[in-house]
Symmetry: C2
Subunit: 201 residues, 2 copies
């Protein structure tokens, strides 16, 4: 096999490293880019470089941001005193999309996972305690919004136990039947949880 | 919804423009890149810029290349006198992968398509005739390897008719049952073609 363009080959190789992109898709993307204007391709390349250059972690909540503190932590219109604890910065993104929550966030950057050797000191739990101790923040409620899997549950329990010593309310988001689905498509674990967490009508 | 990183937002936007990449995949790719080293991301960005910068068309065969003429046209080890005519440069790539063909290529850059207002003068047919007239190339056989659809067929017939006036052999690659498939999964058009093109055993 003779390659007529090393540049194309290299672009395909680099694109194939992206998640969810095999060699075939990489080839399709590279050929698509070949047909685009120089400007279009530079915009993409520049966006990727800027992504690495500008993006940092917010020193308060731990989410990704271009400025420190992030636009949520520095927004005076956001409700003070309520902090929503999530695993990863993507979760902030997902919750923000609902436009439901107007308080602050705290990104743990992971969950406690003995199997992967991740203990409480490896995620941002100490930082959460510091924020609770900070009188300027005057935190009154911590909402746990971790994933409903083994690690998320264990981490929620750990934080809950830890925060019992403080005079703050600890809540968690509701886990149950997702809206718009029928019961017959719901797995048993979710259904059990929905029964256990039933509320008065 | 409050966006904490404009750079992330912009990267997702640019990535979502790629073919086969929706907003969700773009988000996944951007988050993946955030976790990579600066070097890894620069390599990708640079490969994309170089792709547009270095890649040009071979003035002989019309395939994409970093040098003109391309490495196939300038390779003295390739067989002279046999030219394989294909629609797009991707086809050169696909045929090269088989390591079966050792001659030269000619990329038409499309097919005759009255519906899309593409006539014989809009694809590289004149360039093919020039090559056939060129004594240095001493072309003895033209292999048509166009796609077996309406436009590919029409273009093959057109070229075949045109080349009848020259003292060269005109062949086409075989269309029939793909290897490794069972007859019951073959569409009727392919099966009809396989019967019509049957060869003695």
């Amino acid at each position: 096999m003779q390659i007529t363009s090393e540049a194309l080959e290299r672009a395909i190789e680099e694109l194939a490293k992206l998640p969810g992109t095999g060699r075939k898709s990489a080839q399709r993307i590279a050929i698509h880019l070949l047909k685009q204007t120089d400007e279009h391709v530079s915009k993409l390349a520049d966006a990727l470089i800027q992504l690495k250059k500008s993006v940092t972690r917010c020193s308060v909540c731990g989410t990704i941001t271009d400025t420190d503190p992030c636009s949520i932590c520095s927004n005076h219109k956001r409700m003070n005193g309520v902090v929503c604890v999530v695993e990863e910065f993507q979760d902030v993104y997902i919750i923000e999309k609902t436009n439901e929550f107007r308080g602050r966030y705290h990104v743990l950057g992971g969950t406690i996972s003995p199997l992967e050797n991740i203990g409480p000191d490896d995620i941002r739990i100490k930082e959460l305690l510091d924020r609770i101790a900070d009188e300027d923040e005057s935190i009154e409620e911590v909402i746990l919004a971790l994933n409903p899997d083994a690690e998320g549950e264990a981490t929620s329990y750990y934080i809950n136990k830890l925060l019992k010593n403080y005079e703050i309310e600890i809540t968690r988001i509701a886990y149950g039947i997702p809206m718009g689905t029928e019961l017959e498509f719901i797995d048993e674990a979710t259904l059990s949880r929905a029964f256990a967490s039933r509320t008065s009508f």
